[in-house]
Amino acid sequence: MIQANMQLDAKGLACPMPIVKTKKAITDIEEGQVLEIQATDKGSKADLAAWASTVGHQYLGTVEEGDVLYHYIRKGSNEPEVEKTFEQTVSLEEIESRNGLVLDVREAAEYAFGHIEGAKSIPMGELESRLGELDKEEEIYVICRTGKRSDLAAQLLAKNGFTKVYNVLPGMNEWNGNIKKDI
């Protein structure tokens, strides 16, 4: 199963109800969190994707199981772009030729719908409690979608004594190489 912060049951509902309900439900989760929408209306896939992009949410993808469509949407933020401050950075091209660990700090659902082969998934929100899974001797390339969350994650790692940490820029949204899916 793909992890989500909240589930919405819109099964059996016809258009426009899946989107009407989604619009309402998404106000109950935090920005950056993921909503799972369960629907049976086939048209909901194209409509949710189009709706999400018009209102600034991130449509992650859909998994079909039998008659049910599981859609995943990550709530977008309207915050202004924050300055990225972590100084050690590395480009997408460079990480392909280096040997360290790619640490993907996006939400588990984002990771599931496409990540770099071999990347380790620790969502930003869980990073502090899972530092023990990481090796201080290894180079760590922290990646997210646009470089913003990974910037914060790199700072957190540095504060905890990790020195070989690099923020990968720009991020998965411009990654053109192979991706692996866990769906």
């Binding site: 426009p16 009407v20 194209a46 409509d47 189009a50 709706w51």
Partner: protein
């Protein structure tokens, strides 16, 4: 203000009668771009319903008050919601019952001609999908050609006319819509004919439709003559009815010609297509009236809503019949083809009897415009 409910039949009349209509299509932009209700004098505004969840105030200035307004969506639900919002804002509007789904399945029967001794020839125009089916009636008997999957329409029409369906033909194995032919035959006991060269993989019984086959409808003997005319598919067969009407299937349309690639063999069948259009059809009488199995654009409709034109006129006006150079013809029908019809490979499987999807799945497969032609 009241919200009115219009049926697909009401909208079809407005298309055929050239009336004005303002359509607010609330499907998402891709769906609208792909396929919409075409009318000569229709105006359109496409705003997805999910952009109107907070209200319609912003679009009110764009919606005319001096014209009929119809709200359209995929299945109906969203158009009802938007129509009610517009109504609360003081506008009188209608929504399309069943949405584009019902538009796709609506058939308008139109009489093409009276035949000798009280016979009649009807064209069933499926405006939403561009499919054309035919029924020849003569002295209590009927023959149907290229029936679409809504078999009730044909059997009820025959019942109303008091005629018995005796022969059901498909000009070829269709790739853009699901045939109702063999189901009508099974229901009525009629003979179902299919060109054997298109039927090599079918899993049901049929009567081979071979070149030169002659079937008489009614005792007054309206002739239906088969004419082998490959090119769209290798088995494609045309019909000459009463020496006056040429049913061309998907080989020749009013404003375009058939595409040879939907069974995956464009290169192989180009020669056949050219032979049919430039040699076999040339040998026919120019006064034959061409009745195709499709139309692509609304401009192909005549004033009475029929899709029909004299063969001699097509030789002059149809671009696809006027490409002298063979190489140029080859490249026209094999390069830069329009996108293939939705789910065309699955539709072929259904028409071969290999898969039997339920009604909703069939509807889904047939969504979108037909794309059987090259221009």
């Amino acid at each position: 203000m009241t919200v009115n409910k219009w049926t697909a039949a009401t909208v079809a009349r407005k298309v055929i009668d050239n009336e004005e209509l303002f359509i607010l299509d609330v499907r998402n932009a891709d769906a609208f771009e792909d396929w919409k209700i075409d009318g000569h004098k229709f105006e359109y505004l496409n705003i997805p319903y999910f952009e109107l969840l907070d209200g319609v105030e912003e679009i009110l200035p764009k919606i005319p008050t001096d014209k009929e307004v119809l709200v359209v969506c995929a299945k109906e639900g969203s158009s009802v919601m938007v129509a009610e919002m517009l109504s609360e804002a003081g506008r009188e509007v209608a929504y399309l019952e069943g949405g584009m789904k019902s538009w796709s399945s609506y058939l308008e029967p139109i009489k093409v001609a009276d035949l000798p001794n009280g016979g009649e020839l009807y064209q069933f125009v499926r405006l939403g999908k561009g499919c054309l089916s035919y029924m020849v009636i003569s002295e209590g008997e009927a023959a149907i050609i290229d029936a679409v999957r809504f078999t009730d329409i044909f059997t009820n029409f025959a019942k109303d006319k008091g005629v018995e369906i005796k022969h059901v033909f498909d000009t070829h194995l269709h790739a853009d819509h699901i045939s109702g032919g063999r189901h009508i035959a099974a229901e009525t006991g009629a003979t179902y004919y299919l060109p054997p060269k298109d039927a090599t993989e079918v899993v049901f019984d049929y009567t081979p439709l071979n070149d030169g086959l002659n079937v008489k409808i009614g005792s007054s003997q309206i002739d239906v003559n088969a004419l082998y005319s490959p090119g769209h598919t290798i088995g494609s067969t045309s019909f000459v009815i009463d020496n006056q009407y040429l049913l061309t299937g998907d080989i020749l349309f009013i404003d375009s010609i058939g595409r040879p690639d939907l069974a995956g063999l464009a290169e192989d069948w180009v020669g056949d297509l050219r032979e049919t259009l430039y040699t076999r059809y040339r040998e026919l009488a120019e006064d034959l009236v061409v009745l195709p199995a499709h139309f692509m654009i609304i401009d192909e409709l005549n004033e009475d809503g029929t899709v029909a034109k004299r063969l001699g006129d097509l030789f002059k006006e149809n671009h696809g019949l006027n490409i002298e150079d063979e190489d140029e013809f080859r490249s026209t029908v094999t390069d830069n083809l329009p996108p293939q019809p939705n789910a065309y490979e699955q539709i072929r499987q259904v028409n071969m009897g290999k898969i039997t999807p339920d009604n909703d799945e069939q509807t889904e497969m047939e969504i979108g415009p037909n794309r059987c032609a090259v221009r």
